[in-house]
Amino acid sequence: MSRKTPEPVQVVKQRRDEMLKSLVENIPYINYMCISFDRRGDELTAILPFRENLIGNPMLPALHGGVTSGLLEVTAIVGLAWSSLWQDMESGAIEANPADTSALPRMPKTIDFTIDYLRSGLPRDAYARAIVTRAGRRYASVRTEAWQDNRSRPFAQAHGHFLMPQRDD
């Protein structure tokens, strides 16, 4: 009985990191916000580094509600695109090319997005993770949570529905 030799770890990491890079790097708004993604296996954590111009209320001071919702929506869209590409990426059906992303499927489109502001966002880095709760062919449901100091005390949560890009085949 011959078993398939596992791929070298560098090959696996490079394939996944390049795919993530090509998903994220071409979107101007993600770059503008300086949001990056930390990847552990298939789990993504969005990181939003604090900057003064993210403040909404200088008296408190607190993050602007639009910063919080922007972080949550970016996390949801990238998380959804990432999970829908995962299988084709792992099988080699889709290959990432950060220089030319035209071969990748289009990003999901937001149908609606509801944000709960649980506590005010502090003037420091924020993190977010998304969970795809329904991954259909036509639309998907995604939940997102954002936290700062304590993972168990999220400062905002959101859920939304997204239209999936239709594949041409």
């Binding site: 003064e52 489109k109 502001y117």
Partner: protein, 141 residues
């Protein structure tokens, strides 16, 4: 407009660093209504192939506009905090267009304000997005 609540549009944005960073403009403030504009900026694009603006800046515009309509309401005292905000995206905003949001704070209780808002570009037949939100407030008596 109620003179006791007069707010200087420039001061209003100066007090909102992120609103200012996005280039948001306060166009009009009434009794429980607000109109804000967000000029097109390539840095806020969400789809590089079409140049369409990302949902993030639109929700920032909606949140600010809804909050401004609450603060301009004659029965509301002081500042507000968003409890929740739902945004429905009807269609992609036309690249190059300023997005204008209009919010109306249609009901205020002792502690909660209810708001609805609409965002449009130059094609005003169908809105780009609509929003509904609730805000914590202190009511003046």
């Amino acid at each position: 407009m109620d003179n006791s609540k007069s707010i200087d549009p420039i001061q209003f944005m100066e007090a909102l660093p992120h609103g200012k960073a996005l280039g948001m403009q306060l166009i009009e403030l009434g009794d429980g209504t607000a109109v804000l504009g967000l000029p097109y900026d390539k840095r806020f694009v969400g789809d590089p192939e079409t140049g369409v603006i990302h949902g993030g800046p639109i929700s920032a515009l909606m949140d600010t506009c809804c909050g401004a309509s609450v603060m301009s309401h004659p029965e509301v005292m002081g500042i507000t905090a968003t409890i929740d905000l739902r945004i429905d995206y009807m269609r992609a905003a036309k690249p190059g267009d300023t997005i204008v949001a209009r919010a109306e704070c249609h009901h205020v209780t002792r502690s909660v304000a209810f708001v609805r808002a609409v965002a449009e570009d130059s094609n005003s037949n169908t809105p780009v997005a609509t929003a509904t939100g609730t805000f914590m407030v202190g009511k003046s008596k």
